[in-house]
């Protein structure tokens, strides 16, 4: 009984507390770099597209809003032929970033994407691709991978030995 009255009283005196609301469009909060907002596709240190079209972001996406097609250039380097994110479905959960093995897909601290027309929320690869490395500088997947995709020859990668000469006679 007393606790009920006390709750009422405590609630009542909140009238004189400072309000916590930040009046958003006039005032803007600081967003940390790892805030999960708009999704971008980044480039590697050599300014090439990082995305190798592995489809892991698409399969990780709980709302299935990422769709892409992988393609290969004449060197055998994989990239996305098209890459589409339907932001009208995206829930900014960041699973795609988590799944990305090449640090290509990243969520950035920008959430102001409202549109009057829902169709404008469908972002294609040219809308997503940025000119920098984003949050994770320095990584170039093809220097670590075993394939020769025009970035490094066989055996030239990080932690790789020279290719085996299979016709040598030494054991």
């Amino acid at each position: 009984m007393f606790s009920i009255l006390r709750s009422i009283w405590l609630t009542f005196i909140h009238m004189f507390h400072k309000r916590v609301t930040v009046e958003y469009p006039e005032k803007k909060n600081y967003l940390p770099p790892r805030h999960r907002g708009r999704i971008v596709l980044t480039r590697d240190p050599d300014n090439q597209e990082r995305c190798v079209g592995c489809y892991l972001c698409a399969v990780a996406c709980p709302v299935d809003c990422i769709s892409l097609q992988a393609t290969e250039d004449e060197n055998g380097r994989r990239s996305a032929e098209f890459f589409r994110i339907n932001f009208s479905r995206c829930i900014l959960c960041g699973y795609c970033e988590e799944a990305c093995p090449t640090d290509a897909i990243q969520l950035i601290p920008d959430f102001e994407m409202a549109e009057y027309n829902r169709q404008n929320l469908v972002y294609e690869k040219e809308d997503l691709l940025i000119d920098g490395q984003g949050k994770y500088p320095g990584y170039n997947f093809f220097k670590h991978a075993g394939v020769d995709a025009g970035v490094k020859a066989k055996g030239e990668g990080i932690d790789e030995e020279k290719p085996v000469d299979i016709k040598k006679l030494m054991p």
Binding site: V52, Y55, L56, L68, V122, K154, P163, I166, P171
Partner: protein, 900 residues
Amino acid sequence: MMAKIFIDDKPYEVDGSKNLLETALSIGLNLPYFCWHPAMHSVGACRQCAIIKYKDDDDKKGKLVMACMEPVADNLHISIEAPEAHAFRAGNVEALMTNHPHDCPVCDEGGECHLQDMTVMTGHNERRYCYTKRTHNNQYLGPFVNHEMNRCIQCYRCVRFYKDYAGGKDLDVFAAHNDVYFGRQEEGVLESEFSGNLVEVCPTGVFTDKTLKKHYTRKWDLTNAPSVCHQCSLGCNIIASERYGTIRRVLSRFNGDVNGYFLCDRGRFGYEYINSKNRIITPARLVNGSFAAITAGDAVQEIKAIINTENNTIGIGSPKASMESNFLLRELVGPANFYAGVPAREGKLIRQVIAILDNGKVKTPSLSEAKTYDAVFILGEDLTNTAPMLALSLRQAAKNEPNEIARAVKIPDWNDAATREAVQGATGPFFIAAAHDTKLDDIATGIYHASPDQIAGFGNAVAGNINRQLNFVAADAEIEKLSDTISAALLAAKKPLIVAGTSLYNEAIVQAAANIAYALKDRGKDAGLIYILPEANSIGSALLADQYLEDAFAQASPKEAKSVIILENDLYQRMDKTATDTFLQYFTNVISLDYLENATTRNSTLLLPAGTFAEADGTIISNEGRAQRFYQVHVPKNDVRSSWKWLAELMAAYDSSPINLDAVIDRLTAAFPALQAIQYVAPSAGFREDTQKIPRSPQRYSGRTAINADMHVSEPRPPADPDSALSYTMEGYVGIPPPALTPFYWSPGWNSAQAINKYQIEVGGELHGGNPGKRLFEPDPNSKAAYFNSTPSACSPKEGQYMVLPLYHIFGSDELSAQSPAVAERVPQPYIALNDSDAGKAGIVEGAIIEILLSGNKKWLPVKLKMGLPQGTAGLPKGLQETAGIIYPFYTTIKIAGND
């Protein structure tokens, strides 16, 4: 022999003739493995399937053994879960991973990789080895298979399949220890017709599908359908897969009675014509010499008007089209106006084969059962090119007799390495009588090359040897000697198998093969008889019509006929160009239902886009008389649809209610009670598993809310499928569906094709629910089939003329698969093949250009000297664009070009 074993203290009743790995997998336990394969058995190379085996009940320590190399024994105690075994398996994977590259994101195997699955299964999840990785250079292996040797884990499955199982000669192992290399001696196209199976056999991404690589999609994103290969008459079961409206790949669909685990390269890589730019995708009408697209509704109305105003529309069926399509065309135009879409010579031959199958005197074994025969006699077929998967089966059959050596020293059948060591490459009785050398010659114990009629005569001589009452005599002493050998070997065998076919268009060969089989049967042998037919539904379409193209051509006259409907058939491939031109010119309306532009569609006035096996449902009947259902993979965003759907729309009777596949089949079986079995080939459209449809896509299918977002941000409703119990989405029953409706293989923890283990009652054996397909012809013990008495005249080469025989090419002789870019790279240039002594006499050398008369027209072709082609015969590659419309065999003259 059953045995009781204890796995982790749980008792199981198991088959005593198996090894422990097979046994554990059959029970449904998860035990990792790499080198073992249910079709290739154990060699114990990868050390992955380690388990603990205990001496007896009291033994608490046990010892580590490889499950795949240990036989089941009664009262045996083993442990899969023991910490030592677990640690050993994890350590083994960790060791394999030291050199495995960081490739998964760009590796085509990713997501269906046996190595990934096994790594997860063993629990190895962190790389501790921080030193360098060994690397290898890759090789170009042709248009089908991609090579990425860095990923290799040295399980030896590839060479064991390629060399030991499929008889390939050009893939081998090089170097030693950590540097072991699997590849060719030097870069080049893999010669084997079964190289595509390396993609499925390799547990990781060393060998991957190059056609898939061009439009790569992960397994989880594919929409699949259970389908049946349409590229030859064997009816191998396949899984065809789609993404973004194009067909991405074909995989083998396990059917223990047909193709088992494997597929030939034509079947696997010949699908790309479906995505061709030459596809007819919209109905079109000929206006002033060019085609103008019209709407489906207009097209149907127009054709209906044409059919209704005349009552003598004729229909031409097709051995490529399904039973349903052929049947509805027959209904639409009336049986009297319906013609089988093949020349009379071929059609009558097929009906002869059907008659022999139907009388049931000897059994026609399935493709898979053919592996169990221990003596083989092939008459007149180049199997590697006309029925590749049968050639693969017969390679296994050739091992049966020598394998008795191993059995005699108590080596179990599953112990592959020991069996091969005991056998030392010996082959069993295997005889080939053919018009030229074939790729099976390397395992043959007797070869006879002759002209078609001589082959038939030789076959009859063998039959006469077996059944002395038959009045056949050998042509000469040499033949008599060989026929004695063959008949003795066939009689000595437990299960002799006779293989023949229609490829030489010789009725006498077909009858001679039957004579041999009958004779063996009458001597009490469990004989088998297999016939190879020209096309996927040759039997089925022949069952529906007994009038042929010649009849249609003869019947047509400018006064009579006004319209013709041609079903999935390029008449110019089958009949002479001039005759076909004349025939088509008689008609005011030539209505073609076809997939690809071809000479016939170019000479048509109305086109309807027909669905290939990827866009159509239907039933086809394979060479053994097995009716099998294939299902549509996806609903294309154009007017392409099953031919029978177009025909149903054209039929007035179907105006009122929409018609589905089941309704067509009901009508078909009502009209042809002998085909009743077609109804039971697969569950009907109303079938539900747990009240749900069976999804064509895996649970993890991605991008559903983005795929169509470029067109419109609102997602469209997924298409409905009124024709089958499959749905076009990922939603529906999760679990193991009936085998005829299995669109893909997946089981928790098993993402690779090896998930098939979970779909089989016993690994490598029958599927849960039985192998799909229904056989129309079964052996009849009371059959009173009579011997054929046609004694063919020994072919005497006509003076100054050559008898031209068709030469078959796995890549090229089928006009559709030849239009797939990858297969097209392997299609030979047109040539004429000559016997080397004939050529020597005429002073012709290899590569010389020769002038040949082809149905009155001069053609110039380069010469190839074909070993084994009999004197007085020449060969032309069948089915190439340059050699279309020839009816074989024919006589012609040749001369060196320019020497007039």
